[in-house]
Protein backbone atom coordinates (compact mmCIF):
# COMPACT_ATOMS: atom_id res chain seq x y z
CA UNK A 1 0.00 0.00 0.00
CA UNK A 2 1.19 3.58 0.57
CA UNK A 3 4.71 4.61 1.39
CA UNK A 4 4.59 7.06 4.25
CA UNK A 5 6.01 10.37 3.02
CA UNK A 6 8.97 11.92 4.80
CA UNK A 7 7.59 13.89 7.69
CA UNK A 8 7.97 13.90 11.44
CA UNK A 9 6.79 10.62 12.92
CA UNK A 10 3.42 10.73 14.62
CA UNK A 11 3.72 10.98 18.39
CA UNK A 12 0.24 9.65 19.14
CA UNK A 13 -0.93 7.48 16.24
CA UNK A 14 -4.63 6.73 16.04
CA UNK A 15 -5.27 3.01 16.47
CA UNK A 16 -6.27 1.00 13.42
CA UNK A 17 -9.50 0.01 15.16
CA UNK A 18 -10.45 3.64 15.80
CA UNK A 19 -9.63 4.62 12.20
CA UNK A 20 -11.89 1.82 11.00
CA UNK A 21 -14.70 2.84 13.34
CA UNK A 22 -14.40 6.42 12.10
CA UNK A 23 -14.43 5.45 8.44
CA UNK A 24 -17.33 3.04 8.76
CA UNK A 25 -19.55 5.43 10.68
CA UNK A 26 -19.29 3.60 13.97
CA UNK A 27 -17.86 6.60 15.79
CA UNK A 28 -20.64 8.90 16.89
CA UNK A 29 -20.41 12.67 16.52
CA UNK A 30 -18.91 14.32 19.55
CA UNK A 31 -15.64 15.12 21.26
CA UNK A 32 -13.93 11.89 20.24
CA UNK A 33 -14.71 12.41 16.56
CA UNK A 34 -13.72 16.09 16.72
CA UNK A 35 -10.39 15.26 18.31
CA UNK A 36 -9.78 12.49 15.79
CA UNK A 37 -10.49 14.78 12.84
CA UNK A 38 -8.24 17.51 14.27
CA UNK A 39 -5.49 14.91 14.48
CA UNK A 40 -6.11 13.59 10.97
CA UNK A 41 -5.86 17.06 9.46
CA UNK A 42 -2.64 17.84 11.29
CA UNK A 43 -0.96 14.45 10.91
CA UNK A 44 0.16 13.31 7.48
CA UNK A 45 1.04 9.84 8.73
CA UNK A 46 -2.38 9.04 10.18
CA UNK A 47 -4.19 10.61 7.23
CA UNK A 48 -2.22 8.34 4.90
CA UNK A 49 -3.26 5.35 7.03
CA UNK A 50 -6.87 6.46 6.68
CA UNK A 51 -6.32 6.79 2.92
CA UNK A 52 -5.28 3.15 2.89
CA UNK A 53 -8.52 2.17 4.63
CA UNK A 54 -10.46 4.27 2.13
CA UNK A 55 -8.58 2.75 -0.81
CA UNK A 56 -9.28 -0.75 0.47
CA UNK A 57 -12.96 0.11 0.81
CA UNK A 58 -13.03 1.59 -2.69
CA UNK A 59 -11.37 -1.54 -4.06
CA UNK A 60 -13.86 -3.83 -2.33
CA UNK A 61 -16.74 -1.74 -3.65
CA UNK A 62 -15.37 -1.97 -7.18
CA UNK A 63 -15.00 -5.75 -6.89
CA UNK A 64 -18.57 -6.09 -5.62
CA UNK A 65 -19.97 -3.89 -8.39
CA UNK A 66 -18.15 -6.02 -10.94
CA UNK A 67 -19.68 -9.15 -9.42
CA UNK A 68 -16.29 -10.41 -8.31
CA UNK A 69 -17.54 -11.79 -5.01
CA UNK A 70 -17.85 -15.43 -4.07
CA UNK A 71 -19.29 -17.32 -1.13
CA UNK A 72 -22.37 -16.76 0.94
CA UNK A 73 -24.01 -13.36 0.62
CA UNK A 74 -26.83 -11.81 2.59
CA UNK A 75 -30.13 -10.68 1.12
CA UNK A 76 -29.24 -7.02 1.69
CA UNK A 77 -25.93 -7.47 -0.11
CA UNK A 78 -27.75 -9.09 -3.02
CA UNK A 79 -30.31 -6.26 -3.07
CA UNK A 80 -27.50 -3.72 -3.10
CA UNK A 81 -25.81 -5.45 -6.03
CA UNK A 82 -29.04 -5.43 -8.00
CA UNK A 83 -29.73 -1.80 -7.10
CA UNK A 84 -26.24 -0.84 -8.30
CA UNK A 85 -26.96 -2.38 -11.68
CA UNK A 86 -24.96 -5.61 -11.38
CA UNK A 87 -26.38 -8.31 -13.61
CA UNK A 88 -27.29 -11.03 -11.13
CA UNK A 89 -28.50 -14.37 -12.45
CA UNK A 90 -30.50 -16.24 -9.86
CA UNK A 91 -31.23 -19.96 -9.55
CA UNK A 92 -33.64 -21.10 -6.87
CA UNK A 93 -33.52 -24.68 -5.58
CA UNK A 94 -35.78 -26.48 -3.13
CA UNK A 95 -34.51 -29.63 -1.38
CA UNK A 96 -34.32 -32.57 -3.80
CA UNK A 97 -34.42 -30.39 -6.91
CA UNK A 98 -32.09 -30.59 -9.88
CA UNK A 99 -31.76 -27.37 -11.84
CA UNK A 100 -29.91 -26.76 -15.11
CA UNK A 101 -27.79 -23.63 -14.98
CA UNK A 102 -25.49 -21.63 -17.20
CA UNK A 103 -23.85 -18.24 -17.46
CA UNK A 104 -25.16 -15.85 -20.09
CA UNK A 105 -23.42 -12.94 -21.79
CA UNK A 106 -23.64 -9.86 -19.60
CA UNK A 107 -23.96 -11.77 -16.33
CA UNK A 108 -21.78 -10.38 -13.53
CA UNK A 109 -22.59 -12.79 -10.76
CA UNK A 110 -24.56 -15.99 -10.37
CA UNK A 111 -26.43 -16.56 -7.13
CA UNK A 112 -27.83 -19.92 -6.14
CA UNK A 113 -30.62 -19.62 -3.59
CA UNK A 114 -30.99 -22.80 -1.53
CA UNK A 115 -34.34 -22.98 0.18
CA UNK A 116 -34.80 -25.02 3.33
CA UNK A 117 -36.62 -25.19 6.62
CA UNK A 118 -34.27 -23.57 9.10
CA UNK A 119 -36.66 -23.89 12.07
CA UNK A 120 -34.61 -24.39 15.21
CA UNK A 121 -31.37 -24.12 13.26
CA UNK A 122 -28.93 -21.35 14.10
CA UNK A 123 -26.22 -22.02 11.55
CA UNK A 124 -25.64 -24.28 8.56
CA UNK A 125 -22.83 -25.87 6.62
CA UNK A 126 -22.87 -26.10 2.84
CA UNK A 127 -20.80 -28.77 1.13
CA UNK A 128 -20.41 -28.72 -2.65
CA UNK A 129 -19.09 -31.78 -4.45
CA UNK A 130 -18.46 -32.62 -8.09
CA UNK A 131 -18.57 -35.99 -9.88
CA UNK A 132 -17.30 -38.92 -7.77
CA UNK A 133 -17.78 -36.79 -4.66
CA UNK A 134 -14.75 -34.68 -5.47
CA UNK A 135 -14.80 -31.73 -3.01
CA UNK A 136 -15.64 -28.49 -4.75
CA UNK A 137 -16.26 -26.14 -1.88
CA UNK A 138 -17.32 -25.95 1.74
CA UNK A 139 -18.84 -23.12 3.74
CA UNK A 140 -19.27 -23.58 7.46
CA UNK A 141 -21.26 -22.05 10.26
CA UNK A 142 -23.40 -19.61 8.31
CA UNK A 143 -26.11 -18.05 10.51
CA UNK A 144 -29.68 -18.69 9.25
CA UNK A 145 -33.22 -18.34 10.51
CA UNK A 146 -36.82 -19.05 9.62
CA UNK A 147 -39.04 -21.89 8.48
CA UNK A 148 -38.88 -20.64 4.90
CA UNK A 149 -35.28 -19.59 4.82
CA UNK A 150 -32.78 -19.43 2.02
CA UNK A 151 -29.03 -19.51 1.73
CA UNK A 152 -27.54 -17.39 -1.05
CA UNK A 153 -24.37 -18.74 -2.63
CA UNK A 154 -22.66 -16.33 -5.01
CA UNK A 155 -20.05 -16.97 -7.68
CA UNK A 156 -18.53 -14.54 -10.20
CA UNK A 157 -19.87 -15.17 -13.70
CA UNK A 158 -16.34 -14.84 -15.07
CA UNK A 159 -15.24 -17.76 -12.89
CA UNK A 160 -18.16 -19.99 -13.85
CA UNK A 161 -17.58 -19.17 -17.50
CA UNK A 162 -14.26 -20.97 -17.32
CA UNK A 163 -15.82 -24.14 -15.85
CA UNK A 164 -16.60 -27.19 -17.99
CA UNK A 165 -20.08 -28.69 -17.98
CA UNK A 166 -20.38 -30.36 -14.60
CA UNK A 167 -22.92 -31.80 -12.17
CA UNK A 168 -22.58 -30.29 -8.72
CA UNK A 169 -24.23 -31.68 -5.61
CA UNK A 170 -24.92 -29.27 -2.79
CA UNK A 171 -25.65 -30.59 0.68
CA UNK A 172 -26.93 -28.38 3.44
CA UNK A 173 -26.66 -29.52 7.06
CA UNK A 174 -27.10 -27.84 10.39
CA UNK A 175 -23.82 -26.86 12.00
CA UNK A 176 -22.83 -28.18 15.39
CA UNK A 177 -21.94 -31.40 17.12
CA UNK A 178 -24.86 -33.39 15.69
CA UNK A 179 -25.45 -32.10 12.15
CA UNK A 180 -28.83 -32.78 10.57
CA UNK A 181 -29.24 -32.81 6.81
CA UNK A 182 -31.57 -30.02 5.66
CA UNK A 183 -31.49 -30.58 1.93
CA UNK A 184 -29.66 -31.90 -1.11
CA UNK A 185 -29.67 -30.02 -4.36
CA UNK A 186 -28.15 -30.57 -7.79
CA UNK A 187 -26.89 -27.96 -10.23
CA UNK A 188 -26.36 -29.16 -13.79
CA UNK A 189 -23.90 -26.58 -14.98
CA UNK A 190 -23.65 -26.20 -18.74
CA UNK A 191 -20.47 -24.67 -20.12
CA UNK A 192 -22.41 -23.06 -22.93
CA UNK A 193 -25.42 -20.88 -22.29
CA UNK A 194 -28.74 -22.69 -22.61
CA UNK A 195 -30.97 -21.84 -25.54
Amino acid sequence: MHDIPMMPSCQAPISDALLLDYWTGDLSDGDEMNALEEHLFACGECSVRLQDVAALGAGLTTLARQGRVSGIVSRSLLNRLQRDGSHVRMYWLAPGETVPCAVYPGDDVVVTALRADFSGVEAVTLVVTGPDDVPFGRVENVPVSGARGELLWANPAALLNRMPSIRLQLTLTSSGAAPVELGRYVLEHSATALA
Binding site: S47, A54, A55, G57, R65, S74
Partner: protein, 185 residues
Amino acid sequence: MQAMVDASDGDIARAVSARVPGAAEAAEAELYRRFAPRVRLYGLRHLRDEDEARDLSQQVMLVVIEKLRAGTIRDADQIASFVLGVSRTMSKDWKRLDWRREKLRETFLPASLVTIPSWDASLDLDHLEACLARLADRERMVVLLTFYAEKTASEAGKELRLTEGNVRVIRHRAVERLRTCMTSR
Protein backbone atom coordinates in the same frame (compact mmCIF):
# COMPACT_ATOMS: atom_id res chain seq x y z
CA MET B 1 10.74 22.61 -3.80
CA GLN B 2 12.37 20.05 -1.48
CA ALA B 3 12.51 22.73 1.22
CA MET B 4 8.73 23.06 0.94
CA VAL B 5 8.22 19.31 1.26
CA ASP B 6 10.22 19.29 4.49
CA ALA B 7 8.66 22.48 5.89
CA SER B 8 6.06 22.50 8.66
CA ASP B 9 2.42 23.24 7.85
CA GLY B 10 2.79 26.63 9.54
CA ASP B 11 5.87 27.57 7.51
CA ILE B 12 4.07 26.71 4.30
CA ALA B 13 1.04 28.78 5.30
CA ARG B 14 3.34 31.72 6.10
CA ALA B 15 5.05 31.36 2.72
CA VAL B 16 1.67 31.55 0.97
CA SER B 17 0.73 34.65 2.96
CA ALA B 18 4.07 36.35 2.27
CA ARG B 19 3.32 36.27 -1.48
CA VAL B 20 6.95 36.30 -2.53
CA PRO B 21 6.96 35.65 -6.28
CA GLY B 22 8.07 32.11 -7.04
CA ALA B 23 8.10 30.93 -3.43
CA ALA B 24 4.38 31.57 -2.91
CA GLU B 25 3.40 29.39 -5.88
CA ALA B 26 5.55 26.54 -4.62
CA ALA B 27 4.05 26.94 -1.15
CA GLU B 28 0.52 26.88 -2.54
CA ALA B 29 1.28 23.72 -4.47
CA GLU B 30 2.71 22.04 -1.38
CA LEU B 31 -0.21 23.17 0.77
CA TYR B 32 -2.56 21.69 -1.81
CA ARG B 33 -0.58 18.47 -2.12
CA ARG B 34 -0.62 18.07 1.63
CA PHE B 35 -4.18 19.01 2.54
CA ALA B 36 -6.35 18.32 -0.50
CA PRO B 37 -6.27 14.52 0.04
CA ARG B 38 -7.20 15.03 3.71
CA VAL B 39 -10.19 17.18 2.78
CA ARG B 40 -11.18 14.65 0.15
CA LEU B 41 -11.13 11.92 2.77
CA TYR B 42 -13.21 14.11 5.07
CA GLY B 43 -15.66 14.64 2.22
CA LEU B 44 -15.82 10.94 1.42
CA ARG B 45 -16.46 10.14 5.06
CA HIS B 46 -19.22 12.71 5.50
CA LEU B 47 -20.75 13.06 2.02
CA ARG B 48 -20.19 9.44 0.88
CA ASP B 49 -19.84 10.54 -2.70
CA GLU B 50 -16.59 10.53 -4.66
CA ASP B 51 -17.46 13.46 -6.94
CA GLU B 52 -18.75 15.63 -4.12
CA ALA B 53 -15.69 14.80 -2.03
CA ARG B 54 -13.41 15.85 -4.88
CA ASP B 55 -15.37 19.09 -5.37
CA LEU B 56 -15.34 19.79 -1.65
CA SER B 57 -11.61 19.29 -1.56
CA GLN B 58 -11.03 21.73 -4.39
CA GLN B 59 -13.34 24.37 -2.98
CA VAL B 60 -11.99 24.16 0.55
CA MET B 61 -8.45 24.54 -0.69
CA LEU B 62 -9.42 27.47 -2.87
CA VAL B 63 -10.96 29.25 0.11
CA VAL B 64 -8.00 28.44 2.37
CA ILE B 65 -5.44 29.68 -0.14
CA GLU B 66 -7.46 32.81 -0.81
CA LYS B 67 -7.65 33.54 2.93
CA LEU B 68 -3.91 33.03 3.25
CA ARG B 69 -3.22 35.29 0.27
CA ALA B 70 -5.44 37.95 1.83
CA GLY B 71 -3.60 37.59 5.14
CA THR B 72 -6.78 36.94 7.09
CA ILE B 73 -5.58 33.80 8.86
CA ARG B 74 -4.03 34.98 12.11
CA ASP B 75 -2.23 31.89 13.34
CA ALA B 76 -0.51 30.08 10.47
CA ASP B 77 0.56 27.29 12.81
CA GLN B 78 -3.12 26.37 13.21
CA ILE B 79 -3.61 25.97 9.46
CA ALA B 80 -4.65 22.29 9.78
CA SER B 81 -7.37 23.22 12.21
CA PHE B 82 -8.48 26.03 9.91
CA VAL B 83 -8.69 23.67 6.92
CA LEU B 84 -10.78 21.27 9.00
CA GLY B 85 -13.07 24.11 10.09
CA VAL B 86 -13.65 25.20 6.49
CA SER B 87 -14.26 21.56 5.51
CA ARG B 88 -16.87 21.16 8.25
CA THR B 89 -18.66 24.36 7.36
CA MET B 90 -18.63 23.72 3.64
CA SER B 91 -19.76 20.11 3.86
CA LYS B 92 -22.68 21.12 6.09
CA ASP B 93 -23.74 23.81 3.66
CA TRP B 94 -22.77 21.83 0.58
CA LYS B 95 -26.09 21.92 -1.21
CA ARG B 96 -26.54 25.64 -0.67
CA LEU B 97 -23.10 26.41 -2.03
CA ASP B 98 -23.58 25.60 -5.70
CA TRP B 99 -23.52 29.21 -6.84
CA ARG B 100 -20.47 29.98 -4.72
CA ARG B 101 -18.60 26.93 -5.94
CA GLU B 102 -18.94 28.11 -9.51
CA LYS B 103 -17.86 31.61 -8.58
CA LEU B 104 -14.80 30.31 -6.72
CA ARG B 105 -13.90 27.99 -9.55
CA GLU B 106 -13.84 30.92 -11.95
CA THR B 107 -11.90 33.22 -9.67
CA PHE B 108 -8.85 31.75 -8.05
CA LEU B 109 -6.46 28.98 -8.93
CA PRO B 110 -5.00 27.63 -12.16
CA ALA B 111 -6.47 24.30 -13.19
CA SER B 112 -3.06 22.64 -13.01
CA LEU B 113 -3.08 23.10 -9.25
CA VAL B 114 -6.46 21.64 -8.52
CA THR B 115 -5.92 18.01 -9.33
CA ILE B 116 -5.88 15.49 -6.53
CA PRO B 117 -3.83 12.34 -6.91
CA SER B 118 -6.01 9.26 -6.97
CA TRP B 119 -4.84 6.92 -4.25
CA ASP B 120 -7.08 3.99 -5.12
CA ALA B 121 -5.71 3.63 -8.64
CA SER B 122 -2.64 1.90 -7.22
CA LEU B 123 -4.68 -0.99 -5.77
CA ASP B 124 -4.29 -4.25 -7.67
CA LEU B 125 -7.90 -5.43 -7.94
CA ASP B 126 -7.01 -8.94 -9.12
CA HIS B 127 -4.81 -9.38 -6.09
CA LEU B 128 -7.47 -7.91 -3.80
CA GLU B 129 -10.02 -10.34 -5.25
CA ALA B 130 -7.71 -13.24 -4.42
CA CYS B 131 -7.14 -11.86 -0.92
CA LEU B 132 -10.88 -11.43 -0.39
CA ALA B 133 -11.49 -15.02 -1.46
CA ARG B 134 -9.01 -16.21 1.19
CA LEU B 135 -11.00 -14.68 4.04
CA ALA B 136 -13.33 -16.80 6.11
CA ASP B 137 -16.92 -16.48 4.91
CA ARG B 138 -17.99 -14.47 7.92
CA GLU B 139 -15.05 -12.08 7.53
CA ARG B 140 -15.77 -11.63 3.83
CA MET B 141 -19.42 -10.94 4.53
CA VAL B 142 -18.56 -8.39 7.22
CA VAL B 143 -16.13 -6.42 5.05
CA LEU B 144 -18.54 -6.40 2.11
CA LEU B 145 -21.43 -5.29 4.29
CA THR B 146 -19.20 -2.62 5.81
CA PHE B 147 -17.42 -1.16 2.80
CA TYR B 148 -19.78 -1.95 -0.05
CA ALA B 149 -23.22 -1.97 1.56
CA GLU B 150 -22.11 0.79 3.99
CA LYS B 151 -23.58 -0.90 7.05
CA THR B 152 -22.52 0.09 10.54
CA ALA B 153 -21.36 -2.62 12.93
CA SER B 154 -24.78 -2.58 14.55
CA GLU B 155 -26.62 -3.01 11.25
CA ALA B 156 -24.27 -5.73 10.03
CA GLY B 157 -24.61 -7.47 13.39
CA LYS B 158 -28.39 -7.62 13.10
CA GLU B 159 -28.07 -9.15 9.66
CA LEU B 160 -25.48 -11.71 10.64
CA ARG B 161 -26.88 -12.39 14.10
CA LEU B 162 -23.74 -11.14 15.75
CA THR B 163 -23.22 -8.53 18.42
CA GLU B 164 -21.90 -5.11 17.39
CA GLY B 165 -18.70 -5.88 19.27
CA ASN B 166 -18.28 -9.17 17.40
CA VAL B 167 -18.66 -7.40 14.07
CA ARG B 168 -15.99 -4.86 15.02
CA VAL B 169 -13.57 -7.60 16.04
CA ILE B 170 -14.23 -9.61 12.85
CA ARG B 171 -13.96 -6.48 10.72
CA HIS B 172 -10.68 -5.42 12.30
CA ARG B 173 -9.22 -8.90 11.85
CA ALA B 174 -10.44 -9.14 8.26
CA VAL B 175 -8.96 -5.76 7.31
CA GLU B 176 -5.64 -6.76 8.88
CA ARG B 177 -5.68 -9.98 6.86
CA LEU B 178 -6.46 -8.13 3.67
CA ARG B 179 -3.63 -5.65 4.33
CA THR B 180 -1.16 -8.44 5.06
CA CYS B 181 -2.28 -10.33 1.97
CA MET B 182 -2.03 -7.21 -0.21
CA THR B 183 1.53 -6.50 0.87
CA SER B 184 2.74 -10.09 0.43
CA ARG B 185 3.08 -11.81 -2.90
